[in-house]
Structure formats: C-alpha cells, structure tokens
Amino acid sequence: MSDVLLAASNLTKRFGGLAAVDDVSIDLQLGRIHAVIGPNGAGKSTLTNLLSGDLPPTRGRVMLNGADATGRNPEQLSRAGLGRSYQKTNIFLPFTVWENVRLAAQSREPHLLAWLKLANNFRSINENAERAIELAGLAQRRNAVAGTISHGEQRQLEIAMTLATAPRVLLLDEPLAGMGSAEAERMVQLLLKIKPGHAIMLVEHDMDAVFALADRLTVMVNGKVIASGTPVDIRADAGVQAAYLGETAYE
C-alpha cells in the first residue's frame, strides 16, 4: 500500500448557486499517476485550483502529508511540498529559461540576507535547476528568453519550474496542451520518469497519454465524480462511455 500524500474528501466549491465542484474526493499516492478527465466545464480546473490553494473550498477537507491543509494558500502549500503546473503557461516571459528554473529552485533556499552575493553563484541552487532543466529536456535552450521559445518548449519550462521546487505532490494541469505528437511523447516519457518519486494528479484531454500514464482514473461531469477506478475498469464503464468517451470517439 503506497503512501497517500494528498487526500481530498468531499470537496465542494459553489459560485453563487452553481456548484462547480460537487462533493469530490480524490487520493494521490506516491509513485502513482491519478488522471482526472471529463468534458469541458466538468470542474477539473476548479478542482485543481482548490487543491493548489488558488481557491478556497466551500466545503470539504484536504490533507497533505497527513496534516490538514484545507484553505491554505499557494505559498504555504508549495512550501509543504506541493507543486502545480498551469494550463495557461504561467512563466516569467522576459527571463531566460535558465533564470526561470533557477528562480524556482531558489525558492527552496532563499538566502535572504546574501545581498552582496550574486544569485547565480549558489551551487546547490544551480544543481537543482540544472537537474530540472535536463529532466524537462530544455538543456539546449537554457539561454533563450522564455518569451521567444516555442509553445511546446514553454510547456516543458512550465514543468521544469514546478520540478525545481522539489515537490512530492504534483498537480499537472493539461501539460500536453497544444503539443505536437513528438513533444507529447517526450512529455509522457518525462512523466513516467519522475513518477517513482512523486504523487501525481494529471488533468488531461489527450486520451492516448492518459491511458499510457494513469494508474487510476477519475471521471468528472458537471462537477461530480461519475466514476473512479483503474483505466481498464473505466474504459469498460458504460456510463463513462456515454458521458465522455463517446464524445471523443468522434474526434
């Protein structure tokens, strides 16, 4: 039985009268990828925002590493070992790829009072950043300005930054969005590579990737969980097929 690093129970988020997320429970285990799928508007983004601290829940609880983390903000959650990548690329556009990742790595070792020492001269920060950049496959592009690299490379940078904060729990919000098949394949390999040390939640629309990666699948429709289980079980579930997989058959 793997450790459950993040356990969300009965999460609900209401906006006025509308429940964007309705009584959702989800567990993330170390060394496992738990994918969340569903049509647009199913509440996947809201769920991610609830777990990352970007939105406070209306009801429900979140336990991170065994401690209550309900309603904590993103800063606090990041320091407690949670990392999140964004669907809409959320990087530092004017900085180089290297600086983006280095800054992310620095968050673990602030060196607040070293006002006269150059940020680039801290060996352990540099090593962590280097490692994250290698993993994400961006070593060739370290000196490029983030605003000038391709969309796929920006998605890779997005992941590299999240990895550089050495999280144990990863919330990945559509990391393959907008990627061509070669880039997507590379991202899948990356995720498989980092799987052992992390508890990962993967929100994705790319069904090939989902079935290649997921150990567990949760299907959301209209804010609710309609099915949760292994990929094999979900594939066979008639309700899921009707609600969601049926649509993708036409794509």
Binding site: S78, P94, F95, L103, A104, Q106, A119, F122, M161, T165
Partner: protein
C-alpha cells in the same frame, strides 16, 4: 504593470559612457562655479532619491506615489536633531535619520503592501499626504513654515560646510548607493523582486512569501530615500512639508521613467535630465506680456504628457537600442 522589457544588463559601450559620466562628475567642481556645483550636488541627491524609487518601481513593479514622505522624514529628523546653536554630528545623525525613514516605511508599508495595483497607488499617496498634514498642521513640528537647520552636520574629519567637501561626500554617497543597488539587483533577494514584478502570482505558487519581500523592498527604498533627504536638508539648511507631497513623488517617478527603469543608471540620468529641464523651464524669458518662466509647470506638464505618450522606455532605452543594434526585446541575460 505590463511586461515592459527592462534593461537590466547595460551594454558595454553604455557602461563606458556612464563611467565617463562619473569621472566628469568628479572633475566638475574644478571647472564650474560654486552655483553650478551646488546645482549638480542637488542633482546627485535627487539621483539617490530616484534610485530608491527605481528599486520599488523599476525592479519590484510597485508604483508608490508617496515615496517622498521618506525623503522628507529624514530631513525633518536632521532638523529635530540639530541644535539651534551648533552642528550635530554627521556620523550618528545620518544613521538616525535614515533609520527614522526606514521605520516610517516599515510601518506604513505594513498597511500598504497588502494592497495591489491601483489600490496600492492610491493608498501610498494617501499615507504620504497624511504625513504631510501631520507636519503641516502642527506648529510643534514646524508647521507650514518649516524648520531651519542653522549648521551643516559636523563630519569631524572634514568640514561639510565647505562646498567642495559636501560635493564629494554626496558623490561618494551616490556611487556607494549605485554600486550597492546594482549588486542587490543580481543577488537572490533582487532576483525575487524582479520575479515579483514579472509574475507575482507564480512567485507565490513557487512558495515565495511575496508580502515579506515587498515589505523589505519598501523599507529599504524608504531608507535610501531618507539618505537622499538627509543630504538634501543638509544642503539647503531648510525643511518644509512640500518635501513630502505627492508632486515630489511623482517627479521622482518621472525621473525614473525618463531615464529608463530597472537598472539604477537610468534613475541617475533621469534625475539629472528632469532637474535640468525644471531649471530650463523656470528660467524661460518673458515673451511679450507672457511670463513663460512663471508658468514652468505648464511646460513640464506638457513634457510629461508627451514622454508618457510616445517614449516609455526612457533615454537609456533609446540609447541602448541605438548602441547595440540588437532586437529590443532583451531580458536579463545574453
């Protein structure tokens, strides 16, 4: 703040020009009259003030319309610490005055830094006006008339009353602040401030306590503004509430914009240019029955409107573009 690309690393040729500028400043008193040397000393003092604004604005992305309060507070601290009949010792009154400004910035910052965007602009302005009225309304603090400082601070080792000594002391301070801030810019702390400017949300998601960093920057900038204010009060021998008004704060922002944000050299260039322009407009002659110099605010207002409308990267940005011939979308490393 929009994603304006900032000129953090100065191109080599520009650095040479700036270096030449510092040398020129060092030699200036030997070729100019006392009057002009004093004017340049004032420009250097404003350069320090502008650099403190640049730390907030150009580096961290905080638009403070109330930064002059910390400039004024240190000046008033000097006034209160100076006895009527003799000078006060420079070596403890300067840190004390700077400390007073830093403390004020810390306290006000605690309330102000929690706000964002337009609220931040408005509340910094409001708190600065509060400080203004505190001094303006209270005779005990000098009131609207202000306070005179009868003797320049006593530096013991040298005489600040000597204009040459004062000039070089100010130049040394300017250089020290510039070098310190350039170093700070590329320190871990400075990199976080730059990150906050570019994308504060992501910085928080990466685990940075951005409130604390912004408050630290606000306090440090307040301390540096206090250094400038102390020197300014020592130079003129006089403090009044106008030193703290939002006009002074807005002028400082203008200087930073004019010279180019985010690298501190631009702040100095902008301070010199803006102050020179003010003198130029104020000295305009009478044209017929129209006293052009009296209405200098009109000319400076038009100038500000034109610069904002057409030239938002400032003088150094223009110069850098001419000098490097590279694409202007440069960030923080080659």
């Amino acid at each position: 703040m929009s994603i304006k690309t900032h000129l953090e690393i100065l191109p080599g040729s520009l650095r040479i020009v700036l270096g030449a500028g510092f040398v020129a400043l060092a030699l200036f008193p030997f070729v100019a009259t006392d009057f002009y040397a004093q004017m340049v000393a004032r420009m250097m003092i404003l350069g320090i003030f502008a650099m403190s604004v640049d730390l907030l604005l150009g580096v961290t992305g905080l638009v403070s319309l109330g930064h002059a309060a910390y400039f004024g507070i240190a000046g008033y601290a000097l006034a209160f610490l100076s006895p009527q009949d003799g000078p006060v010792n420079l070596w403890w009154s300067l840190p004390a005055a700077v400390g007073a400004s830093a403390l004020a910035a810390l306290v006000i910052g605690f309330f102000v830094v929690r706000t964002k965007g337009i609220y931040f602009i408005m509340v910094t302005m409001a708190f600065a006006q509060m400080v203004y009225y505190l001094f303006f309304d209270n005779k005990a603090l000098g009131g609207s008339d202000g306070i005179y400082i009868n003797f320049k601070p006593d530096a013991v080792a040298f005489d600040l009353g000597n204009k040459l000594a004062f000039y070089y002391f100010t130049l040394a301070m300017l250089l020290a602040v510039y070098v310190f801030l350039r170093r700070l810019l590329f320190s871990p702390f400075g990199r976080v401030l730059a990150g906050i400017r570019v994308n504060e949300h992501r910085m928080r998601a990466l685990g940075y306590g951005t409130f604390g960093y912004k408050l630290a920057a606000f306090t440090l900038a307040g301390a540096l503004a206090g250094l400038a204010g102390y020197l300014g009060a020592a130079q003129t021998g006089f403090v009044n509430p106008e030193l703290m008004g939002f006009h002074m704060s807005a002028h400082a922002i203008m200087m930073v914009i004019l010279g180019g944000m985010g690298n501190f050299a631009g702040a100095i260039v902008g301070a010199f240019t803006f102050e020179w322009l003010l003198h130029f407009f104020q000295d305009l002659p009478q044209i017929g029955s129209f006293n052009a110099g009296k209405h200098w605010q009109l000319w400076i207002g038009l100038f500000i409107v034109l610069v904002v409308t057409f030239a938002s990267r400032g003088l150094l940005g223009v110069a850098a573009r001419l000098v490097t011939r590279k694409d202007s979308a440069q960030g923080s490393a080659e």
